[in-house]
């Protein structure tokens, strides 16, 4: 079965990719399968300078999910370009670089540098990281700021921009419409929901940052709902994510309105999951009566 998808000009051989931050820069997972299997590769957030992230513990388990507060640790955009991207040189799947920052200028700086790199095929604008004090999520909760940042970055690059939305908002459709109007080429959703756990022994938050982002199957119904809401209001391609752990979940997300699907937390439970999902997808589509991805699109569950 032909699994190709076209995200507003970005062509993928199949709709499956790892979610940013859950796959590093690809190297570690290449010991489990050939990265050419992937529809795309979304790499970890890049900031203007190297960041060391939050103190540990940075992760905690929850029922059907996990909290994380890595705090955007990364070697900085130049470090990524020099040390991490060369490894992906031989891979023919598109690379989507996740862009983060504290100020709009930092986003623009990162986007400009990545614009010069052939190995980067698209940018994902992370306006939704709940784990850093400044930047990140505040751009993602106010439609005006989200739109302004989107058009600023859009001016700084020729590559397609997917804006990654935060689910920690009253009205996600409003943000999606704002970034569509500001020139986004697509939408990624959802980032993590802000959560917290308290260690009963120490009486302190388990995550040293106090709060962390909740991800995993626990949040899938929220992701499905939000993707469907945005699908009903916006025409941009959507990279859907949030709790996907099986080919059935992928189909559910496609029916909700996603055009491609990213897998995050499930990579930790099973490092082979992306490949397994890609292998199973044709069978799963057929099981539910679909002969192609296009037929799934035509069955989308719209209002």
């Amino acid at each position: 079965m032909n699994l190709n998808v076209d995200l507003n000009g970005l062509l993928l051989k199949n709709p499956i990719m790892p979610a940013s931050g859950c796959f590093g820069f690809g190297k570690e997972f290449s010991q489990f399968y050939n990265l050419n299997e992937l529809g795309a590769i979304v790499i970890k957030a890049a900031t203007g300078e190297q960041r060391f992230g939050n103190p540990t513990p940075r992760v905690a388990e929850t029922s059907g999910g996990m909290l994380n507060a890595i705090g955007l640790q990364n070697p900085g955009v130049e470090g990524i370009i020099e040390k991490e991207l060369p490894f992906l040189q031989g891979i023919d799947s598109p690379v989507i670089a996740n862009v983060a920052g504290s100020l709009p200028e930092e986003y623009v700086h990162v986007a400009k540098l990545l614009n010069e790199v052939d190995r980067v095929d698209a940018l994902e604008l992370n306006i939704s990281c709940p784990n850093v004090k400044e930047g990140g999520v505040q751009f993602g909760t106010d439609p005006r700021q989200a739109a302004d940042l989107t058009s600023l970055v859009k001016q700084a690059t020729n590559k397609p921009i997917f804006v990654k939305l935060s689910p920690n908002v009253s009205d996600i459709g409003e943000i999606a419409e704002a970034v569509e109007q500001a020139g986004a080429d697509g939408i990624s959703m959802i980032n993590t929901l802000t959560g917290m756990r308290i260690d009963l022994h120490t009486k302190q938050p388990i995550i040293s940052n106090r709060t962390g982002g909740l991800s995993g199957p626990a949040i899938k119904p929220i992701a499905i709902r939000m993707i469907n809401e945005v699908r009903n209001r916006v025409n941009l391609p959507i990279i859907g994510m949030g709790g996907v752990a099986s080919s059935e979940d992928v189909l559910e997300m496609l029916l909700a309105g996603a055009d491609a699907v990213a897998v995050g937390t499930a990579n930790f439970q099973n490092p082979m999951i992306c490949k397994e999902i890609i292998d199973e997808l044709p069978q799963t589509l057929m099981k539910y009566g679909f002969q192609s991805i296009k037929e799934v699109r035509n069955s989308r569950c719209l209002n």
């Binding site: 931050g21 859950c22 997972f29 060391f52 940075r58 992760v59 994380n68 995993g216 439970q269």
Partner: protein
């Protein structure tokens, strides 16, 4: 490497402490002491994070690996409820283990605390081939002590318990002192406060420490398990660069 290993046995060997034996062809790769196995917990999606447990011993002829774990939370409770013939999905061996070839004809010290003791057993067996080994093992109290006899086959063994109910009363560092063992290369694994105390006491002596940190991926991709380091990039990942690191490589 990911593989399903079959449970052979799962027995309580000390208070709340269990020894599990698992077998499968993948065990042939488990040659380096200090590495860990990243164990999938439960079925379905309730437990999205694997649990890191050290390799305690390996029988390379029968392809049997031994792990020893303390039941603390839900993950180790699930391990405890496994029965012979059940399968456990294992990612591993992960991380950087103990270098056993660095020394020969030396007097080496292995220092373990609580569930830091298990990886030192596989290490001691290997070190003892070419060296004299002294093992200093610390436990909470008498009921928590395990593997004393096993270690004694390959090494001299001292036991410390916090409350003095068995062995010497006090900490492993007290034994280092009382037995005048503060000048030998060492290998230590245990809770962070113990590692700190050892680093202080044995400052200047060459040693290896095995660290614990909460993990996400366990393979170096998620940056959950990062520790500040004196190395050039300023940090190490415990799951990939560790768990075993040179004593002065990590800032505790």
């Amino acid at each position: 490497m990911i593989s399903d290993l079959r449970v052979m046995s799962n027995d309580e060997i000390a208070f709340n402490t269990y020894e599990m034996k698992l077998y499968g062809p993948a065990v042939a790769q488990y040659t380096m002491p200090g590495q860990f196995l990243h164990l999938r917990i439960g079925e379905g999606y309730e437990h999205m994070l694997r649990r890191p447990i050290s390799i305690a011993d390996v029988d390379l002829i029968r392809n049997v690996v031994t792990i020893v774990y303390k039941q603390l939370g839900e993950g180790t409770a699930w391990l405890r409820s496994r029965k012979p013939e059940d399968l456990i999905n294992v990612l591993g061996p992960q991380g950087n283990g103990f270098n056993v070839n660095q020394y020969s004809q030396e007097h080496l010290i292995v220092i373990g605390g609580g569930v830091g003791v298990p990886p030192l057993y596989y290490l001691t067996k290997q070190l003892a081939k070419n060296n004299k080994v002294t093992a200093i093992l610390g436990f909470q109290d008498q009921s928590s002590v395990f593997y004393e006899e096993a270690f004694s086959k390959f090494s001299e063994v001292y036991i410390a318990t916090n409350d003095g109910s068995y062995g010497e009363k006090g900490f492993v560092t007290d034994i280092l002192e009382s037995q005048q063992l503060t000048n030998h290369p060492y290998y230590a694994c245990g809770p962070t406060p113990m590692l700190k105390a050892i680093q202080n006491k044995l400052d200047g002596v060459s040693g290896y420490l095995s660290f614990e940190e909460r993990m996400g991926c366990g393979i170096g991709a998620c940056f959950a398990c990062v520790c500040e380091s004196t190395n050039q990039q300023g940090y190490v990942k415990i799951c990939q660069d560790g768990p075993v690191l040179k004593a002065r490589e990590v800032i505790l």
